[in-house]
Symmetry: C2
Subunit: 336 residues, 2 copies
Amino acid sequence: MTKHRSDETVTMQSVAVAAGVSPMTVSNTFRYPERVQEETRLRVLTIAAELGYVPNHAAGNLASGQSRVIGAVIPSIKNSSFYNYVRGMQDAVATQGYQLILKLADSLAQEAAAIRTFVGLRVAGIALVGDEHEQDARMLLRKTGVPVVESWVHETPFDMAVGYSTADATRALTQLLIDGGHRRIGFVGYDGDVSSRFTERLPTFRQTLEQAGLESNRIVLIDQADGFGAGPKALQALCTIDPDLDAILCPTDIVAAGVLFECGRRSWTVPDRLAVAGWGDYEIASEITPGITTIHPHAYDMGQQAMSLIIDRTTGKDQDKTLVDTGFHIVRRCSA
Amino acid sequence: MTKHRSDETVTMQSVAVAAGVSPMTVSNTFRYPERVQEETRLRVLTIAAELGYVPNHAAGNLASGQSRVIGAVIPSIKNSSFYNYVRGMQDAVATQGYQLILKLADSLAQEAAAIRTFVGLRVAGIALVGDEHEQDARMLLRKTGVPVVESWVHETPFDMAVGYSTADATRALTQLLIDGGHRRIGFVGYDGDVSSRFTERLPTFRQTLEQAGLESNRIVLIDQADGFGAGPKALQALCTIDPDLDAILCPTDIVAAGVLFECGRRSWTVPDRLAVAGWGDYEIASEITPGITTIHPHAYDMGQQAMSLIIDRTTGKDQDKTLVDTGFHIVRRCSA
DNA sequence: TTTCCGGGTTCCACGGAAACG
DNA sequence: CCGTTTCCGTGGAACCCGGAA
């Protein structure tokens, strides 16, 4: 294949010629508008728009060693799980003149590939979800020194992290069920991901039940947390352990909604026959009837903070801020 | 801000020195492995891995004018709307050695900004949803000549397109309601987006009703199609027009699910009191009870085809294929 | 404003080894 | 057997576009 670059490639140079200024002025017009006189700037911008010129990020990145693009790896878009998180990130970068690009990765291997791509792109920073990553990816990140922020992580970050205590949230939610008079409480865990985003929950659940003098053997693990279908399956499995189950704690609102659907089919009343607790406070939690009692994790805030950490790092301020706790709160609705 | 490039930046040069070869050999090792002797190649790869070297895509892109990154703009991740579409894209590019990056854009202005970013990144191709784009963005795309594929578009593509006939689908679904004995059919339209992905539906709906000798005045427009909350609102509005409404056609399964939730609260039986039709065949359509009768748009296939179109274009084959019809089918469940 | 440089690729030249006359 | 052609892996120089000084 021959060099296919046409001779009409629009470059800074050609814009400069057309506008009757030096290339440097064009450069400044885009990077530091305030350095260029209003009149000149407008002329350059007009010409650039006419010619369809967009600064070549590759060249700029190469020349300056800087980038205004941040990469985020998202585990899933199957349901609303990361909607607010991404919105928060998007809004935060927009106000700072940065750009956010996403890659989906529903396994550690895919995450590693995504990280590789982002590193290849020489992005300004990388946002990950959770604290479990492939060893190769960890080494790569360390060696390149690119700012990394983990979300939904509450302690001992790889580099920087923003999150909340899943243990505290689990304890609070479990206690709420106990206080509601429930004694035969089931737990639905997610084992497709070994990150603390999920793994902290089970031990805390057990501990809380035991401190209340209750049995903590009603436990099932499912392999997906973002599908409605997991709800009925989990409920079925728990009923095998204890047909008189009177409450259930789900890994996400999606699973909880799946459980509610199944309760409907069984003509079980919620919360009387079975109390249901979710996690995430997705839109469905407030729209379904009965509304789902759930953990609201301030995901939007988390996304914003994640971007701030990265941007502050690259701009050199607040170098020592590495861990942000965005907290959570319980949203009490009718399901529990 | 200082140039933060540390003196230990791992470059092709440093790998070359460490491996005792010329930079060219390192370059070839990554881009054209077959040109380099097995032994040499392995040595280079080993050293590269040790040093944590990842080829600088920015530099490569600049030098070659080529890129193996494709950008896709997604309108929403609020619910599962584009889950299968993105999965299809992801799977397709993975087998071809390309990389997919995403940007979210829930307005035309944001889409234009996303396009600008992708053009700045000099991606190999851009995937858009729908056929309505800002004029500036259109001109930019034309001038840069980057391959563009529109999805959910069935005719007269901007460049290339993959989709199905929303008119045919609307007609089929409406007819299904008519054949089911329904006479007071309501339509929920989405007016937040002027692309044919949604706008074709209303006229077709009207026409189909009129051909059956039915009234077609039960129509409401909502401003979001990806939220459950729109369902109850739309139902309320339609009931103002006709309290005896006996069927409803929703823009997405999400809205349909919202309607089902509301029916539950009103103790309306579905489909006897009200038949409900959705669109999209998202997971919830099969998991909720009653299951939602809906249009299955082969979104996964659409994503795959979209990527194929772009990759074929850049590799020079099938230059003339510009429009792919991935079809649809009706999934009949209990809600209508 | 000008010059030079960033990291990698294209294109081509080089040189050693195998195959041929 | 030796000189020459061919082949193939490797190296050198110019250049891509934009930013810093």
